[in-house]
Symmetry: C2
Subunit: 368 residues, 2 copies
């Protein structure tokens, strides 16, 4: 809770007040208030408040008059005042990162839309490299804004206790994070998604399957990596080589280059943890004159709209970000309204989308 920076300029409020005559002179073009409207149509402020809030206990005639006055004066309720009085803000906060990526952006938009439809506004706070301090600061910040609830879209499994404390009484949900601690949330079952992808490759006869994973401190990356590993093991095979990327196309390119660097590849397929890295891989393969899918198959994850236009069109896993966002707002709203919610994670199922970047193995794999 750092001291708020004092505005350097003289605040207009104080200047106005200094000039104010005893008779309650309204500052220049200041917005109209309930009282102004009331004065204008000769009723009490409470009546105005009633019509603004759609209360039925107002005579139709009065309501009409008030509505007119409201329009004339261009009255707009001051939500800050309302908040203070009601102790509800109709604001939900979201903490997220990497909004320039397709998935996160999609989730954010979906959250905003759903919230708006329910009469809530979204206040967003980006936390680029999600360390504990940064995250807690964002939570504090949002809580000071009096948000009614919080959507946390970044990893925090190691700091659950601190997060709980900083949220105070404010309910929160997770999105895209598998936090096993009875914190409500929504995830798409990424493990399952990658399992689907890996199995698909296995069924195609691939014996040696490589993996390009995301940064290991992302839960999503970890789940996807584990799914690759586990599925192959379960099938009684050995996992192929594995390189870490950071979600970016560039990193996919680099990872693949590295995979290719040690002579002719033993693997015949790659599982990439997202479509962008898959694109980088495609490109690196092409640069090395390796043909996809003839020599090497590749699957991505996310099903970004572009992926069907890759060269070749990418086999990938479709992940419904919109549903994810929607569901998590719905849950949050129930918590805010103190309705019963199932505190267990809601898990959505991704789907495999087979396109042209995967094919049956042709040549005999070297190893195994």
């Amino acid at each position: 809770m750092k001291p708020r920076p004092r505005p350097s300029r003289p605040r207009p409020a104080s200047r106005d007040r200094a000039l104010a005559l005893p008779g309650r002179v309204r500052a220049h073009s200041q917005n109209a208030t309930l009282n102004d409207v009331a004065a204008r149509c000769g009723v009490s402020y409470q009546t105005i408040s009633r019509v603004v809030n759609g209360s039925p206990l107002v005579a139709e005639k009065t309501r009409a008059r008030v509505l007119k006055a409201i329009a004339d004066l261009n009255y707009r309720p001051n939500l800050a005042a309302r908040r203070l009085a009601t102790r509800r803000s109709s604001l939900i906060g979201m903490i997220g990162s990497h909004m320039t990526y397709y998935g996160p952006a999609q989730v954010m938009v979906s959250i905003e839309e759903t919230a708006k439809r329910q009469g809530y506004n979204l206040i967003f706070s980006g936390v680029e490299n999600p360390g504990e301090t940064e995250l807690l600061a964002a939570i504090d910040d949002l809580c000071e804004q009096q948000v009614d609830g919080l959507v946390i879209g970044v990893r925090f499994e190691d700091w659950i206790a601190a997060v709980r404390k900083h949220c105070g009484g404010v309910p929160f949900v997770t999105v895209g994070n598998r936090i096993d601690d009875d914190i409500p949330g929504v995830v798409v079952d990424e493990f399952h998604g990658v399992r689907l992808a890996t199995r698909h490759l296995l069924e195609l006869g691939h014996q040696n399957i490589a993996c390009i994973s995301g940064p290991p401190d992302w839960p999503a990356a970890k789940a996807r990596y584990r799914a690759w590993h586990t599925t192959i093991k379960k099938a009684g095979r050995q996992p192929g080589p594995y390189v870490q990327g950071n979600w970016s196309t560039q990193s996919g390119y680099d990872a693949t280059t590295q995979l290719l660097s040690s002579g002719p590849p033993a693997f015949t397929a790659i599982v990439a943890s997202n479509d962008h890295m898959a694109l980088g891989a495609l490109r690196a393969l092409h640069a090395n004159k390796v043909r996809v899918p003839h020599q090497i198959s590749i699957v991505g994850y996310d099903d970004v709209p572009e992926s069907r236009f890759f060269e070749p069109p990418l086999t990938t896993v479709h992940h419904d970000f919109v549903a994810e966002g929607e569901r998590c707002v719905k849950t949050l709203l129930r918590m805010i309204n103190r309705e019963a919610v199932d505190t267990t994670l809601q898990v959505l199922s991704p789907e495999l989308v087979v396109r042209e970047s995967t094919a049956k193995v042709k040549r005999r794999p070297k190893s195994t």
Copy 2:
């Protein structure tokens, strides 16, 4: 200004108050207030307020004591109350659309970051199909939130007057919109960007250059289209065929298919209004066995991070979205603080990035 939906559940506040004893019983786990902190360390609320706001007029000893109490009680200032008292919200509103696209998302993130650095929070409102009513509703909504300023990232040139009215006294800037009406704003000079791209093609000897534009109701799309047209005219040539897309990869694909449908193409190059459509074009060309850049050159626009990994790497125009967002927040903040601002548009310059999707014309063009 629609009536606010009444929360269906009984408000906790009212229940608490009903139970409250005369002696001012604080509701259960309600947040601590200035008064609570004051009571705890035996000073007046004003003193607490002073330390919270970092005022220098408080004795070091007292400050330490207060700070301790604040930490103990987990006190957090109530921004709603502060807002009411100061008439400033430290909130800036942003109205935008298509946040799942690279450009808009990038701008949004940049705005949020810059705002946060200056002590402001961002409250975002998405307006997907930007009609007048929808836009004005979003403005009203944000103004009710008492935002100190507004960034409008959607087109509104036809409704300037209405927008002005609805904003009331709230300052606003445009981003990515060329509004010629002394409304401050920031744009990247898209016209120039596409001019660069088109000239590049011209210099490569292309005589017949096609265009895939964005949806014409986007100012950005219009500017880019005009630039293609004008530049070619200025060079004394005739503009080639032209098809509209909608920014999506799919639409780029479709547009190109259409371009190709009337027999062997007369054009030898395509100017696509964004990278995604260029990708679609690339793919359509490939599907039709047209080689890029050997038979047809293509340039995109935006320089999304993936574009250098397209097949072939895309020649495009780099557009600095981050700078755009930053500049516009800076301007807005100056307006909020009533400092002098240059009301004319700030224009940033994009740059051409030449990669491998463009080359000299080989064969004699059929026409002209």
